[in-house]
Amino acid sequence: MSNPAGRAERIAIAVRPDGCAVAVYSDTVPFETLGRVTAMPRASLVEWDGSAREWIARDARTNEIVAHGRSREAVLRDEHDHYVDALLRGSLSSL
């Protein structure tokens, strides 16, 4: 999808049948309109890897690399998309 006006941010909110919701945090989304924010668990850690000379995003729970590259901005976007895709696949609806 082209985006002549600027960057694109994918947003996904998983609304569960148990009365809770999960999303990847974004400053853009006013989550409080859905209810009471109960937790903000860490998703990943993005660090500069000096030996590989690139930015690496690792999953906070598994330490798996979820995104990497020379551009920090691109890694952040890929990392965000990784978790949005995981929400859509159903692998993250229960943290």
């Binding site: 006006a5 960057r7 941010e9 660090e47």
Partner: protein, 152 residues
């Protein structure tokens, strides 16, 4: 510098009257919901007013017991000062219909999330239903200011 992304976990609450009414319609109560400007008394299965801590239970949005299940009590949603709606569902009704309230919270939350994404100007807003009953509302927002991570 480390950059950390986070998940957000939310305990769903009813805050949006229109979304609540839409959710109740989806659950089969179209034309069976009373909407009052001022709270009205809820009636119990025995025909008497429901009482909580010596006061009659009142709510602005009500489903009368004849529209619910056998031996049900009226269910009501009372608007609070902070804008949320408190659901008055008796202990008995929660026992015989244990998922009724959470299904309503989900249906309400889906409406609110869809409206949120539309308000943000998202395109391609869609719902994905998963096997466990979770519904994911997703879309794409185009903005020069789009930011999605904490920087610490």
């Amino acid at each position: 510098m480390n950059i950390i992304s986070h998940f957000t976990e939310i305990s769903l609450e009813i805050r949006d009257k229109e979304a609540l009414l839409a959710a109740l319609t989806e659950m089969g109560y179209d034309g069976k919901v009373e909407v009052h400007d001022a709270p009205v008394v809820l009636i119990g299965y025995d025909g008497n007013p429901r009482v909580l801590r010596h006061d009659n239970v009142r709510a602005e949005i009500v489903i009368r017991r004849q529209h619910l299940w056998r031996a049900a009590n009226d269910i009501g949603f009372a608007r609070q000062a902070d804008g949320t709606y408190t659901a008055y569902i008796s202990e008995y009704d929660r026992e015989v219909q244990p998922t009724w309230h959470t299904r309503l919270l989900q249906a309400h939350g889906i409406h609110v999330a869809q409206e949120q994404l539309r308000t943000l100007g998202c395109v391609g807003v869609e719902l994905t239903r998963q096997e466990d009953g979770t519904v994911v509302i997703s879309g794409v927002r185009y903005d020069d200011q789009a930011v999605s991570s904490f920087h610490v």
